[in-house]
Symmetry: C2
Subunit: 330 residues, 2 copies
């Protein structure tokens, strides 16, 4: 029995809470607003993000951060834009034991600093063990109990094994990996490639095109990811290729959907206004391009997505630019 607190009551945070609560853990689900926490407590369902899955009574729901300090595991599942602030607030409490394992499932790269999400957390908690959770994990399917595999990465094998045994269930199988950088970058960057895949879908280019795009995306992920310190093999695994495939080809992928709407001609502003959840690919595109420029890595797909999101280039023109390359060897 482990005390696990989940920081963030979006779709994935809620799904993890539901799955982990069935494994005899004491689970606390923290929501940023008391209004949401109150609604979750009363309705025992996350109507906005995961309406079909009841939240077991055993899960404690709170918006009060001190409620989570006594946890063995703190699992961050917040939007990337809020992670620095939440981590700071937690650190100010001064009450998190240094034995508490901090796990980031947040997907992003901080713009300006280029920091990964686990680096932001560990900046506030330098003595705590840190891990990362990432893989092909649609929240809805996790909540439904569909068999799901994911990766737990920590520089300390002891930490990842401990978490693996604590958190894994029959339906959520966790594999360990020591390459925190590679696992974390796969989760962050795949959202940018999913935007590109969605743009291709929205333009009606078909699956042949999308497969060619996604093949190049994996190469681009590995190129930028290794330049940033990740291990090449990691990008071939669940948290790289696996997550890339499900995000580029899955119907449920949020970032792919945003890309599809862009491809169909909607404006980014209208799309963002209509979203109830954050599409992390949008901010990550800026951060990823910043990293690529700094390291002089060639990232044509990221550049094309950047041109659509931030430079006013029409999706059709941007994709044509990507396709228009000389015939050559693979």
């Amino acid at each position: 029995m482990t005390n696990i607190s989940i920081i963030g009551a979006g779709s994935f945070g809620t799904a993890l809470a539901i799955v982990l609560a069935t494994s005899r853990h004491q689970v606390t689900l923290w929501s940023r607003t008391e209004a949401q926490a109150d609604a979750l407590r009363k309705k025992r369902v996350n109507e906005r993000y995961l309406p079909s899955h009841p939240i077991p009574e055993s899960i404690q729901i709170t918006s009060y951060l001190p409620d989570v300090v006594a946890s063995d595991v703190l699992l961050f599942v917040a939007p990337s834009a809020g992670l620095r602030s939440i981590s700071g607030q937690l650190a100010e409490l001064g009450a998190i034991p240094s034995s508490t394992i901090l796990v980031s499932a947040v997907k992003g790269i901080e713009y300006g600093s280029g920091l990964r999400m686990s680096e932001i957390v560990s900046g506030f908690f330098p003595s705590n063990p840190i891990a990362v959770l990432s893989g092909p994990n649609h929240a809805e399917e996790v909540a439904r109990g569909n068999p799901t595999a994911s990766v737990l990465a920590s520089r300390s094998e002891a930490v990842s094994r401990q978490l693996q045994h604590a958190i894994s269930t029959n339906r959520l199988r966790l594999y360990t990996n020591e390459d925190v950088i590679g696992v974390e970058l796969g989760g962050a960057l795949k959202n940018v490639f999913a935007l590109a895949a969605g743009i291709s879908d929205g333009l009606g280019l078909g699956d042949n095109s999308k497969a060619a795009l996604a093949t190049r995306a994996l190469a681009e992920l590995a190129r930028l990811g290794t330049a940033l310190g990740g291990n090449r093999d990691t990008f071939q695994g669940l948290s790289g290729l696996g997550d890339l495939m499900v995000t580029c080809f899955g119907r449920q992928s949020r970032n792919r959907n945003v890309g599809e709407r862009l491809g169909r001609g909607e404006s980014l502003e209208d799309i963002v206004d209509s979203l109830s959840m954050v599409a992390e690919g949008i901010p990550t595109t800026r951060s990823a391009q910043e990293c690529a420029l700094r390291l002089s890595v060639d990232t044509p797909i990221i550049d094309v997505v950047h041109s659509v999101l931030y430079e006013g280039v029409a999706p059709a023109e941007a994709m044509a630019r990507l396709m228009a390359r000389d015939l050559r060897a693979e």
Copy 2:
């Protein structure tokens, strides 16, 4: 202007004929039966396999093999089971110039001999240049003119470059590769993995599971493919990963559909009886397992598909077997 003859008037053969005819090539489409050739000539559409795409008048349609002997390029797009017979008939004509480039787009491995399709062809035409065409290419999308990329592999770079310039169009971009073995095996083996992906779909396991399965499939493809002489990098490219993705995740994938019906409980016999086209994954599963056994390569996914197709194991039990592995590092 090149004389190109396409041996096989199924969906992909017809799609290639349509696309190549728009590039000012003289295209001949050979059908196995005069009845089909006659219908194609009269209706100028392949009603059975590609009903929405008219066949340009410039394409010569025949069932008479001597009509194809004067070609610069002979493109084989027949079912794997018929390739040896057709190649033998062509060889008996004794009239194919040794300069004619023979290109195999056939997907399979011969059971018993373990030969790749291009090896069967070159067995009959040892003096002719041989190439292979393979990639993420749904026929319907190729015919529609959706942007498509594919790989032309030949041991002779001169041959693949010549073909690349002759056959590539704006909409069908061909990349060259010298690794004939790797390109050909990607095209053949991906159909077995698509059956597995379909079984997963049919059992309702969801995209998270399928992404985990497809990730392991790429590793398995590279493991068996390199043991058979392919280059590891090839499996990361369009003809490996690209084709694997579109076949495992694309709605239009024939082998994925067969797997889905198996997963839903239909018998293989009923499915095969109802198909108007060959699902090459079915025979390739036997050949692939035979190769793996001979080389002592670990191929758990191929084994699971084999157990469903040929050993009477229930799909749910077979997939459970695949999933039931100890928790471990990636």
